[in-house]
């Protein structure tokens, strides 16, 4: 089982879109795949048409009154399950803080699922918090979508520093350019000259209306626009990530 965390401090940069599309592609190839929507906004749950509701909420999951397994819902796609978001996840930080070994709790919760899934994608909330710390520790790979702008690169540096402080293996951090607009000179320049201190994948996800339309269709891009530029980019991205993971 490989755990892939899709993470960034910033919101609205294609984090959930990446988690949903990559998970769909993994499942479509036959890998047993789970997405855990950890973001209380519940965008991943929305894309899969699953209500953002977990019985007994986050506290139930953390205290073991409700096992993670019981919260799993089947999606409309073969080999792909989801643990939905819940509004109570907004307090996840505080709840984690109250328990022992609070930084490794998510890893412990996921452990029993090791035999059931090949990939678990964590769609993380945009913040620096105990939840992020947990997901970064649990993950085999931390995928950081980054918009090719100066400010986003600055955020990337902050994430790298944060991981360093947590003593997280630098090799786990993998970034790719998201919402890349080839018409913009700055985007083009940054994509052509990516930062050297962190692993940047060759594939960029374009700024494309098909990605935005995921919210209209409530489906992963390859389902409703299989031949689109965006779908092909996600396929190429998954191929790169898979090679690193296996």
């Amino acid at each position: 089982m490989k755990i892939v965390a899709c993470y960034n401090i910033k919101g609205g940069i294609g984090k959930t879109a990446a988690a949903v599309n990559l998970a769909y592609l993994a499942a479509h190839e036959g890998a047993r795949t789970l997405v855990w929507d950890l973001d209380p906004q519940g965008a991943a749950s929305f894309y899969f048409r699953i209500k953002p509701k977990v019985k007994k909420g986050s506290k139930g999951l953390l205290t073991g009154k409700k096992t993670l397994e019981d919260a799993i819902k089947g999606t409309d796609y073969s080999n792909l399950d989801l643990i939905p978001a819940d509004f109570s996840y907004r307090n996840l930080d505080l709840q984690l803080d109250e328990i022992k070994k609070s930084d490794t709790r998510i890893r412990k919760l996921l452990k029993p699922l090791a035999g059931d899934y090949d990939f678990i994608f964590l769609d993380c909330p945009p913040s620096i918090s105990l939840v992020s710390e947990n997901t970064l520790i649990a993950a085999d790979a931390v995928i950081v979508p980054t918009i090719p702008t100066t400010l986003s690169l600055r955020t990337l540096d902050q994430i790298v520093d944060f991981c360093k402080k947590l003593d997280i293996d630098h090799a786990k951090i993998i970034t790719f350019f998201s919402m890349a607009d080839s018409r913009k000179k700055l985007h083009k320049q940054i994509v052509e000259n990516p930062p050297q201190h962190v692993r940047v994948l060759n594939t960029s996800i374009p700024y494309a209306s098909d990605v935005e339309r995921m919210g209209v269709y409530r489906q992963p891009v390859p389902v409703f626009a299989g031949n689109s530029r965006a779908a092909k980019a996600y396929q190429a991205l998954w191929k790169e990530i898979k090679t690193i993971l296996t």
Binding site: G30, I72, N79
Partner: protein, 542 residues
């Protein structure tokens, strides 16, 4: 991933998807898909290994008119619950576990199939309509499939009954329960009693028989030697016949292996149970079966190299591993040549004559007992034919046992490899006879002896294989050079391989003493003497 149990119902002729739709739409929002057609290939090994382990393996092929493409999906289902264990896109029917590019499923197949191949055992055309039960967010909560089937065999007029398959979605069990209530309560559809595969096999007249290559003796105590031998030889001939098509098609290497084992057992029987057939017949069949054994050897040898090839590669230092690939190509090329040659042999007049004569002998119940021996000499030739099989077999088995003790006991660290080979052959003959006539001995003692015998045979077998391989590898290297297939690095890699095989050979040789000692332990010998009731054997003394 937790797999959920689906529920399957028999569709009565008057019940169609419309009736189900009408019923369910009273409570649920539904979406009905168009009819789709798919071809379902049921897959299993020749000896039904998947079926016997309660797996149903299928490969579905759907044709898309729009994209003019064909997509395939490979499934493994639990035979008892119908739940899906594996759903994997695959563009062609997988043959071996290595064709499945998913670690978990590949391991599952590997554990069950070993080196056996998957073959298509039945093909079904499925006409399917799907009903999706949706919530207000248009999320599927339960999936219903209405399926009608046609077995792809033109002569079959009977077809399996259609089925309604209700598939739950994880996390929405309440809706599934309600749907089940409606279907059983209102439509009163009966549940299916057997898997669709079982139904298909019943119609096509196939039986998942695991013992196709086994000899199931079933000898009576009252049998004379000819009666017992005829039954055993008939069974062995049956094994040869059922393996022949798979051997020709090269479905997997076990067909040739089982065929050769049957031939070897026939030879053992002819050679060991003496004075049953007249000399002229015996000489002819011994010669011809020996020929059959030898013409199948080159293909089997190459099979063995190819089966062990990945292990060979792994045994080499990393930097040399890639250089062995040319050797693989060489083996594959020569395998094709040898296999084609073998198929020509099986089509030859000589083989057809042998098969015909053999069949004629085995179908003649009275041969050779009713033949009036005109001369004293001829009577001697078949002197054992009318004697009780249990006595004749026991005498021979005891003799072979003593031979093994003698041959094995005289082996020293200085003995030639040939001596171990001779012992190996004696052990094989001994083992075959015990297996043929097992009905005549008490089970437990023999089983214990067979266990230690098998360990000894494994040692001797592996040792002999290595002797042959080391000898052949040097010849292959020369041949490859002549054929322009080998460069210096390939030859070097093969040289290192020979060294590795030599090391293994030495280790096996060192192990021999311990294995033989275990076989000859006094308690094993005592158990064997007891099982064989040696003291009662006329003319046999310990």
């Amino acid at each position: 991933m937790k797999s959920l149990h689906n529920a399957q119902f028999v569709l009565a002729q008057q019940t169609d998807s419309d009736a189900i739709f009408t019923l369910l739409q009273q409570e649920f929002a539904l979406y009905e898909t168009d009819h789709t057609r798919l071809k379902r290939h049921y897959l299993d090994s020749f000896d039904w290994r998947m079926y016997r382990r309660n797996y149903v393996c299928t490969w579905h092929e759907t044709a898309s008119k729009r994209t003019k493409s064909r997509d395939g999906i490979f499934f493994i289902h639990d035979k008892k619950t119908g739940s899906s264990i594996c759903e994997l896109p695959l563009n062609s029917v997988p043959r071996f576990s290595k064709d499945v590019n998913h670690q978990t499923y590949r391991k599952l197949l590997d554990d069950v199939l070993g080196i056996r191949a998957l073959m298509t055992v039945a093909v079904l055309t499925v006409k399917r309509k799907q009903l999706l039960i949706l919530n207000e967010e248009h999320k599927t909560l339960v999936l219903l499939q209405v399926e009608h089937y046609a077995i792809q065999k033109p002569s079959d007029s009977k077809q399996p009954a259609g089925r309604l398959i209700v598939c739950p979605v994880r996390g929405y069990e309440k809706v599934f329960k309600r749907v089940m209530q409606l279907i059983t309560g209102q439509l009163k559809l009966p549940r299916v009693h057997e898997t669709l595969l079982d139904e298909v096999l019943a119609i096509t007249g196939q039986a998942p028989d695991s013992g196709k290559s086994a000899v199931n003796c079933g000898l009576k105590r009252s049998f004379n030697t000819w009666e017992a031998e005829r039954i055993l030889l008939q069974q062995l001939f049956g094994v040869m016949q059922i393996n022949e098509p798979g051997l020709r098609e090269a479905i997997d290497t076990e067909f040739l292996h089982d065929y050769r084992v049957a031939v070897r057992r026939v030879r053992s029987m002819l050679g060991q149970i003496k004075h049953v057939l007249p000399d002229n017949l015996l000489t002819y069949f011994k010669r011809e079966f020996s020929w059959l054994g030898s013409v199948t050897t080159p293909t089997r040898d190459l099979d063995m190299y190819l089966l062990k090839f990945d292990g060979y590669v792994q045994s080499l230092p990393k930097e040399l591993q890639q250089h062995l690939e040319k050797f693989r190509l060489f083996l594959q090329r020569h395998w094709k040549i040898e296999h084609a040659r073998l198929c020509r042999v099986l089509d030859s007049k000589r083989y057809r004559k042998l098969a015909g004569e053999w069949q004629k002998l085995l179908t003649n119940v009275d041969m050779p007992l009713l033949e009036e021996p005109s001369q004293q000499g001829q009577a001697q030739e078949i002197v054992n034919a009318a004697k009780p099989a249990s006595i004749v077999a026991r005498q021979r088995i005891w003799k072979l046992y003593k031979r093994i003790l003698k041959e094995g006991g005289s082996i020293t660290p200085q003995s030639h490899d040939e001596d171990l080979h001779e012992l190996r052959k004696s052990c094989k003959k001994f083992r075959y006879l015990i297996e043929f006539f097992q009905a005549y001995y008490s089970g437990k003692s023999i089983k214990k002896l067979l266990k230690t015998l098998k360990q000894l045979q494994d040692n001797l077998g592996d040792f002999q294989d290595l002797c042959v391989q080391i000898g052949q590898l040097n010849g292959f290297a020369e041949q490859m050079q002549q054929e322009g297939l080998a460069d210096t690095r390939t030859i070097m890699a093969m040289g290192v391989l020979v060294e590795k095989l030599n090391e293994r050979k030495m280790a096996l040789r060192a192990e021999f003493g311990r294995r033989f000692e275990s076989f000859t332990q006094p308690e094993n010998k005592a158990a064997f003497v007891e099982a064989l009731q040696v003291q009662q054997l006329e003319g046999v003394t310990e």
